[in-house]
């Protein structure tokens, strides 16, 4: 992308829309700010929009409905802004095809970081991680439940995961039998480049192995690939 990416900001609250548009402009984006879904539809047809930032609660057509419309007609990434923290909202939003969501009040820096993650994924031809929330992955007798961030063992007992463990597990579960380097894992799980804290991934891997491997010293599920990284050696079914 040689030009500045073009963002469409849709929020009925002027007190958020205007300063946020300013902030995003200062941070290297071209921003079109509108206050309703109807207006957003017009802009989507008229302009080449690279990403939509969408408030869920709006008078008239709400954000979820517009999000569904965007997903049906194009591949433009969507970030949802939501003021409610109930889990149902998040899941519904992600099922509507949103790429990410941000809870109000949010740090504008974090929003920019997330926008960049999405653009990087689009640029590298990465797949959209659709609906990570509310789905279940089954592998080798284990279930990974994304909504609750737990692994369920054969006895039906849930083992809760830390944020880092969960991100790593999800990265493996969505890419079974692929060799993932430390850099890739860091990028997928934390959206950052590898740096001196490279060992973080190895620590998390060993924690995960303790949880799911029958013999953590002799891993059969999360295998180390010499010179390459790690791979989840199991067939994964998405339930």
């Amino acid at each position: 992308m040689s030009e500045k990416p073009h963002l469409l900001l849709v929020d009925d609250e002027r007190s958020i829309r205007e300063p946020l548009a300013q902030y995003l402009s200062r941070n290297g984006f071209r921003v079109t700010a509108v206050e309703s879904a109807a207006e957003a539809r017009v802009r989507l047809n008229a302009n080449a929009i690279d990403l939509v930032i969408l408030d869920i609660m709006m008078p008239g057509e709400d954000g979820l409905s517009l999000c569904r419309h965007i997903r049906e007609t194009s591949e433009i990434p969507v970030i949802l802004l939501t003021a409610r923290s109930e889990e149902t909202d998040r899941i519904v939003g992600l099922e509507m095809g949103a790429d990410d969501y941000v809870l109000k009040p949010f740090s504008p820096r974090e929003l920019v970081a997330r926008i960049k993650v999405i653009f990087r994924r689009v640029a590298t031809g990465g797949q959209r991680v659709t609906a990570p929330d509310g789905s279940t992955y089954a592998f080798a007798g284990w279930l990974l439940k994304t909504q609750e961030r737990v692994l369920v063992d054969q006895e039906g007992v849930a083992l809760p995961l830390s944020t880092a463990e969960y991100n790593l597990m999800l990265a493996f579960a969505t890419r079974p039998n692929q060799v993932l380097s430390r850099d890739q894992l860091l990028d997928i799980t934390q959206g950052r480049e590898a740096n001196a804290f490279d060992r973080a991934i190895d620590n998390q891997i060993s924690r995960l192995r303790k949880k799911i491997e029958p013999d953590p010293k002799n891993p059969t599920l999360i295998k180390t690939v010499w010179g390459g990284g790690y791979t989840l050696s199991a067939d994964v079914r998405k339930l």
Partner: protein, 449 residues
């Protein structure tokens, strides 16, 4: 006072027991009266033959005895010496009977002898035919002597009729039949009464436990049906109120978060970096308080489903999140401890305790222990602890510890109140205790599955 175990606690049980006792008492009184009447009749039947013979003998005195019949009575000129069991009851009855027929008898002596009196032949045949040979033939005979004039006695003997069969068994049978006739329908009515009451109880208990309850089917007798109708109406009113509360909280949350979000965005345009950081910190703080207030207000209305969770793994994951952020939290090696809980809620409760431990007690050390039927998630710190008399108070909403060193704003004081609400929802408890070595230990105690 501990009640007798035989006494039933249920309404129907008590009614049935009362009716059964009343029936039994009525039966016993009835039986007593019957027995008295029967004894009177028996006495008359025993006395009558002797009396007739004496009357007959006195009437036919002087007539020549019939040849083919043995004399039925002997006349004596002195008081007879009678051996055998003295029967004053028969004597009294005989005196009354003599008076009734107008015979002036001065006194009567009656004895009963158990042996003697040969059986008539046909009787012997009958007894043998019946196979009834216990103790041989035992028919008693009554000897009655009457003083019909001073010093003049007439003595006669008569056989006593067979003793009437005892009728205790008859009482038992009659009572049982009565019970069947009265108690079975009563049981039926009682169950009809008890079932809707039981459903009401279950529904109310379910409501207390889970915050939701099914409406109760309206049936049974009229007044119970009315109660059910009233209960269902109350239930829907409570639900409407709770839904209204949730809607209101949602609206408040939304309306407060929008200006906060606006402030948060604007704060980024502040030039001074220190000022900017402080502003966003304050906004985050406000947001956290808002979050706590909303969570506490929603406590008990969780939509999350309970599932079997390894609490050791849960504690480990929560601690790991703190460690990732560089917070001084540690986790002791703990064995698998499975309980049925709502994992997000327990995560939240444990997070609150660990945050408190770090803020007020410099570090958090988490351990998970199984102790008879319960699982304890303990968070120990190195702080000053809490004065014993303030412990209860600390768990109330909006109470804050004074002298918080590390933080200017100590939050809204909702952390422990929220933990306690989450524990109450799980049938567990929040326990606070000062550690012997110094510092506070806050534990979540949950029932194990």
């Amino acid at each position: 006072m501990k009640r007798l175990r035989l006494w039933p606690q249920s309404l129907v049980g008590q009614i049935i027991i009362l009716v059964a006792i009343a029936l039994f008492v009525a039966q016993a009184i009835n039986f007593g009266l019957l027995l008295r009447e029967r004894n009177r009749l028996t006495l008359t039947a025993q006395t009558a033959p002797g009396v007739y013979r004496i009357v007959d003998a006195l009437d036919s005195r002087g007539e020549p005895p019939e040849r083919d019949r043995p004399p039925r009575a002997r006349f004596l000129d002195r008081a007879p010496v009678l051996t055998g069991e003295h029967r004053p009851d028969v004597e009294r009855r005989a005196m009354v009977m003599f008076a009734d027929v107008g015979l002036p008898v001065r006194s009567v002596q009656v004895v009963e002898q158990d042996h003697a009196m040969p059986l008539r032949r046909w009787e012997r045949v009958r007894m043998r035919a019946m196979g009834d040979l216990r103790d041989g033939p035992r028919v008693a005979r009554l000897t009655m002597a009457a003083e019909y004039a001073p010093g003049k006695w007439v003595v006669t003997q008569s056989r006593m009729g067979d003793r009437p069969p005892r009728f205790g068994g008859w009482l038992i049978w009659q009572t049982l039949i009565l019970y069947a006739i009265v108690l079975l329908p009563l049981l039926w009515v009682g169950r009809r009464l008890a079932r809707p009451l039981g459903q009401l109880t279950r529904s109310a208990q379910q409501f207390a436990r889970t915050g939701s309850a099914d409406p109760v089917e309206e049936r049974g007798p009229g007044d119970v049906r009315q109660l059910t109708t009233a209960f269902n109406a109350m239930r829907s009113r409570i639900f409407a109120m709770l839904d209204e509360k949730d809607r209101m909280l949602g609206a408040i949350g939304h309306d407060l978060r929008t200006p906060l979000a606006s402030l948060r965005v604007r704060a980024e345009s502040v030039e001074d970096e220190g000022e900017r950081a402080r502003m966003s910190q304050t906004i985050d703080e406000m947001n956290r308080m808002l979050e706590d207030i909303l969570s506490l207000a929603r406590a008990g209305r969780s939509t999350e489903a309970a599932q079997k969770v390894d609490l050791a793994a849960l504690a480990d994951a929560v601690v790991e999140d703190f460690v990732e952020l560089g917070s001084p939290a540690t986790m002791a090696d703990s064995d698998r401890a499975v309980a049925s809980v709502r994992p997000q809620q327990i995560r939240r409760a444990l997070r609150n305790l660990i945050e408190n431990a770090i803020v007020y007690g410099d570090r958090a050390h988490v351990s998970v222990v199984r102790e008879d039927g319960a699982i304890r998630l303990a968070v120990a710190d190195d702080g000053p602890g809490i004065a014993e008399d303030r412990m209860e108070e600390m768990m109330e909403p909006f109470t804050r510890m004074e002298g918080s060193r590390n933080r200017e704003t100590g939050g809204a004081g909702l952390g422990l109140a929220l933990v306690r609400a989450i524990m109450a929802e799980h049938g567990g408890a929040l326990k606070l205790a000062n550690r012997p070595g110094g510092g506070l230990e806050a534990s979540l105690v949950l029932p194990a599955s």
